[in-house]
């Protein structure tokens, strides 16, 4: 068995499930539909095959994730990723962090924000707009949420409008969801 990765990294690990993925050859029509498996597209990750155990939520989850991360207008793609990064820092989801920190770096062509977060975690010192976004994402991700009216005021002061703040709430909340699945149903391990 490969070693479990404990530290944050931008190298995307392999995700090793703790529960049994469904067997694609025995999948029901509803599972194949939710998995979007077609004769020309039979590549499905083990993670999605695990989620196919609960086909009704898998079916609604994919359009929701895509809309929150990729819908037009509002908050930039990179800043939505920063919401995901804030949640993943609080929830310590190494796999989610690797995916979204590397995507943030690609989108911004700047690694300094992610480097600061990897070094100092939720206390990282960041440029003003990124700091307001990250701080809000961290506080909203706590249980119970610690986000306060002052955090919304700080986002507005940093130049975010109502739609941008809504998009940040959505991407942060979404990673409260994704972190809990990824981090509890499997382990991030080195790719072999």
């Amino acid at each position: 068995m490969s070693a479990i990765i404990e530290d944050f990294t931008t190298t995307i690990p392999h995700w090793q499930p703790r529960v049994k993925p469904i067997d694609l050859s025995e999948a029901t029509p509803a599972q194949l539909d939710a998995l979007k498996v077609t004769p020309s597209n039979t590549k499905v990750s083990e993670y999605v095959l695990v989620l196919a155990n609960d086909v009704e939520t898998l079916k609604v989850r994919t359009p929701l994730f895509n809309a929150i991360l990729y819908n037009k207008g509002g908050l930039s793609r990179a800043e939505r990723e920063l919401g995901a990064i804030g949640a993943s820092a609080v929830n310590r989801c190494v796999y989610c962090m690797a995916v979204h920190a590397s995507r943030y770096n690609q989108l911004t062509k700047d690694e300094s924000v992610v480097e600061a977060i990897f070094a100092d975690g939720t206390k990282a010192a960041l440029p003003p707009r990124a700091a307001a976004i990250f701080r809000f994402a961290v506080k909203l991700s706590e249980t119970p949420s610690k986000a306060e009216p002052e955090d919304i005021a700080a986002l507005k002061a940093a130049g975010l409008d109502e739609t941008e703040i809504l998009d940040l709430i959505l991407s942060t909340a979404l990673f409260g969801w994704a972190n809990r699945l990824m981090h509890s149903l499997g382990d991030p391990v080195e790719r072999t």
């Binding site: 529960v19 609960d54 609604v60 119970p144």
Partner: protein, 166 residues
């Protein structure tokens, strides 16, 4: 406006006349998908080994752990709709840890860990459920319920703040 009838809007205190509602319609597709995810997590057509009443009671428990009072009320009402079986009712109390029931003890330990301290979740909570006879498919159903609630609770917390700031 259909939005105000949806669970997260009601729980965030948003009414038809709220000026924020117009701004939120930009993301109408997301709110529709959120409502569909609520139904798939709480009242699925095929609930597997986790009944609608158990799901609603667990949702009350997790909403309470998050101090999300409006959602506590919503899930209490859903528990009543599911028939409010007396043997399931204790699950809604965060102080109840399963008593002598091995299946329930393992399920509640997992649900509490993932809801409240997900960063500390380990393989042990999963193997304890498997040892107590919880099927892997039901473990995934519980994970999805827990994960959806984490999203919904934070969405409501965020919308409530945004409403207050409008």
């Amino acid at each position: 406006m259909a939005l105000v009838n949806e669970v997260v809007f009601a729980a965030s205190g948003l009414t038809e006349t709220d000026p924020l509602v117009a701004a939120l319609t930009v993301r109408e597709d997301i709110f529709a998908a959120t409502e569909a995810a609520h139904d798939a997590s709480l009242t699925p057509t095929d609930p597997g080994g986790i009944s609608h009443a158990e799901r609603a009671a667990l949702a009350v428990r997790i909403a309470r752990q998050n101090e999300a009072e409006t959602l506590v009320s919503h899930y209490r009402a859903l528990f009543e709709t599911a028939g409010a079986p007396a043997e399931i009712a204790p699950l809604a109390d965060p102080a109840f840890t399963g008593g002598d029931d091995k299946r329930l003890t393992a399920i509640l330990a997992y649900m509490d860990q993932v809801a409240v301290t997900p960063r500390e979740a380990t393989a042990e909570e999963i193997t304890a459920m498997q040892a107590a006879g919880v099927a892997d498919a039901d473990i995934v159903r519980l994970a999805e319920l827990n994960a959806f609630l984490a999203y919904q609770i934070r969405l409501v917390a965020g919308l409530s703040l945004l409403r207050g700031a409008a």
